[in-house]
C-alpha cells in the first residue's frame, strides 16, 4: 500500500484553497489586545527575568543518583514545600500558578507564585522569601474576603480545591477561567507598558540560543535524563505504579519510523537544548499518563480518568554541571494548553 502524506496534504490544500489570510483576522486580534490593554490599574508582576546568579552547588541524595541543584532550584524546592505545608497549595494546585525566582542582594531568594494567565488577578501572588533554608510566605491578597466561591474577588485555598475538580472538564474549566477574566476586567488590569527594543530575527535568536546550549555540553544526554528522572521521582514522591507509567519524551524515536507514510523526525541536534537563566540546559520531559482503553466495535470508548500526579514533568538540567536549574509540573488542569 502506498500511503500519502503528500496526496492528503495537497488534496486538502487545493480543496480548502478558499481559506486564506484575511486582514480582518489581524485587525480583530489587535483590537482585542487593545481592549485588553485599555484599563490602567495594576502592573503585572514580571517573573523569571533575573539573570546574574551566583553558582552554589548543593547535593542531595535521591534514589541512586546524587542530584545537584542550582541555588534558585533549591530555593524553589524549599518554597514549594512551605507552600504545601503552610498554605495547602501542593504540586497539583501549583499548576494554576507561574513560578518565578529572584536572587536578593543579601543572598536570599524570593520565589513568587503568580496566578497563571487569566487567573493572575483572582489568585494574586504568593511571595516566599527563602533564606538559610527557611521560608517566609506572604500573599498580596491577604485580608481580602475570599468567601462566595468564584464570585469572590480574591480566590484562596477553597477556590483552588474546587478548581482541581472543575478543571478536569474542559467546558467547566473554560467557565472558571472566564469568571476569573471577568473579575479581573471588573477591576482593570494593564500589562507592563515599559518600552522595549524591537527584536529582529526572533527565530534565529532562539535557534542560536539552543545551539549555544548544545555546544556547551559536557555531560551525556543519558546522564542528564537520569538526573531529571531521579529528580521527578523524588521531588514529586511518585510511587512504583506511577514510575512504571512514566514515559520519556526527550529524544523520542518513533516505534514505527520505518513504516510508510510516517514522517521522520527532523533532527537538528539542538531540539532539547536551551539557555535557561543564561545557563546552558537540556530539557528532560516525562509524561505520566493513563494507559489507552482498547477500542471495541460499536462501543464508544471512554478514556481512563486522570489520576493525581498525572501530567507533564519538565526538568532543565545544566549541561555543564548536571545541576537542576529549573523544573515544572503541568497537570493540564489550568492555564493555556
Amino acid at each position: 500500500m502506498k500511503t500519502n502524506k503528500k496526496t492528503i496534504q495537497s488534496a486538502m490544500d487545493r480543496r480548502l484553497s478558499f481559506l486564506n489570510e484575511q486582514p480582518s483576522c489581524r485587525a480583530a486580534v489587535l483590537h482585542r489586545i487593545a481592549q485588553e490593554e485599555e484599563p490602567v490599574m495594576k502592573k503585572k508582576v514580571s517573573l523569571g527575568l533575573v539573570f546574574a546568579i551566583v553558582l552554589v552547588l548543593l547535593s542531595v541524595a535521591a534514589l541512586a543518583t546524587t542530584l545537584l541543584f542550582s541555588r534558585k532550584a533549591e530555593a524553589s524546592r524549599t518554597a514549594d514545600r512551605a507552600m504545601e505545608k503552610e498554605i495547602g497549595i501542593g504540586s497539583e494546585m501549583m499548576t494554576f500558578f507561574a513560578r518565578g525566582e529572584e536572587e536578593q542582594e543579601d543572598g536570599s531568594v524570593l520565589v513568587t507564585y503568580t496566578g497563571a494567565g487569566s487567573l493572575e488577578y483572582v489568585l494574586g501572588t504568593y511571595s516566599v522569601l527563602v533564606k538559610d533554608g527557611k521560608a517566609e510566605i506572604s500573599w498580596n491578597r491577604e485580608g481580602e474576603d475570599v468567601s462566595g466561591g468564584y464570585e469572590a474577588d480574591a480566590w484562596g485555598i477553597e477556590q483552588l480545591k474546587q478548581m482541581l475538580t472543575d478543571c478536569l472538564d474542559e467546558e467547566t474549566k473554560s467557565l472558571v477561567l472566564a469568571k476569573a477574566e471577568e473579575t479581573a476586567a471588573k477591576h482593570g488590569m494593564q500589562e507592563d507598558d515599559a518600552p522595549s527594543e524591537e527584536i529582529e530575527g526572533l527565530h534565529e535568536q532562539i535557534e542560536a540560543r539552543k545551539t549555544a546550549a548544545l555546544n556547551a555540553r559536557k555531560l551525556s544526554e543519558e546522564e542528564m535524563i537520569a538526573a531529571g528522572r531521579s529528580f521527578i521521582i523524588s521531588n514529586y514522591g511518585l510511587n512504583e505504579e506511577q514510575i512504571a507509567r512514566m514515559e520519556l519524551y526527550t529524544n523520542y524515536v518513533p516505534e514505527f519510523s520505518d513504516e510508510e507514510g510516517v514522517i521522520p523526525e527532523e533532527d537538528n541536534g539542538n531540539d532539547w537544548y536551551d539557555m535557561i537563566n543564561d545557563r546552558p540546559c537540556f530539557r528532560v520531559e516525562y509524561l505520566l499518563g493513563q494507559p489507552e482503553v482498547p477500542e471495541q466495535e460499536g462501543v464508544v470508548v471512554t478514556p481512563l480518568p486522570r489520576e493525581e500526579k498525572d501530567g507533564y514533568y519538565i526538568v532543565y538540567v545544566n549541561v555543564e554541571t548536571g545541576e537542576i536549574e529549573e523544573y515544572e509540573f503541568n497537570s493540564g488542569l489550568g492555564g493555556i494548553g
Partner: protein, 168 residues
C-alpha cells in the same frame, strides 16, 4: 515578556501561521465563520500567555495546541452541539485554486473521521507534524497516537482506495 516584544512576535506569528491554522480549524469544525473565530481566539490566547512559550517545544506545536483546544471548546458550545456538522459537498465553498473530485473526496473523508482519528490525521498527514510534535499538541501518550494513526489510515484506505491507495 513586555508588550512591544510580544507584538513583534504576534505580527510574525500571524503572517506565518494564519493560513495553516485557518485550514486546520475549518477541517476540524467544518464551518468557515467558526474557524475564523477559532484562529482569532488562538492568536489572542497565545499573545496573552506568551510567557509560557519559552518552555514549549516549538511555536507551531504551541499554537496548534491552543487552536485544537479552542476548536474543542467551540465544539462544546450549545450552538455547535445542536448543529448538524456532517460534511457534504455543498457545505464546502468553492476553492480559489483548481481542484477536482478526488480532492473533494479526500477532504470529505478526512473531515468525516471520528474526532480523535480526524485530529491525528489532520496533524500528521495534513499539517505534517511529527509524532513528537503531536504528542506535545495532544498531550497524549505516543502509543495512543500511533493507534489512532493506524486506525485512521485503515479507514481512509477503505474510503479512498479508488483514488490514492495503491498496491505497489
Amino acid at each position: 515578556m513586555d508588550r512591544d516584544l510580544r507584538r513583534v512576535w504576534l505580527d510574525e506569528a500571524i503572517t506565518r501561521w494564519e493560513k495553516p491554522l485557518l485550514r486546520l480549524c475549518f477541517a476540524y469544525l467544518g464551518d468557515t465563520a467558526l474557524a475564523e473565530d477559532a484562529v482569532q481566539e488562538t492568536f489572542f490566547k497565545a499573545w496573552k500567555s506568551y510567557d509560557r512559550f519559552r518552555k514549549e517545544a516549538g511555536e507551531k506545536t504551541w499554537l496548534t495546541r491552543i487552536a485544537i483546544n479552542t476548536c474543542k471548546d467551540l465544539m462544546k458550545s450549545a450552538w455547535v452541539r445542536n448543529t448538524d456538522r456532517s460534511v457534504t459537498p455543498d457545505t464546502l465553498p468553492e476553492g480559489s485554486a483548481a481542484f477536482d473530485e478526488q480532492d473533494d473526496t479526500v477532504t470529505r473523508a478526512v473531515m468525516a473521521l471520528p474526532s480523535g482519528l480526524k485530529e491525528a490525521t489532520l496533524l500528521h498527514w495534513y499539517q505534517g507534524m511529527t509524532l513528537n510534535e503531536m504528542a506535545g499538541v495532544l498531550r497524549l501518550p505516543r502509543s495512543t497516537i500511533n493507534f489512532r494513526l493506524k486506525k485512521a489510515k485503515a479507514i481512509l484506505k477503505e474510503e479512498l482506495e479508488d483514488w490514492y491507495f495503491e498496491d505497489e
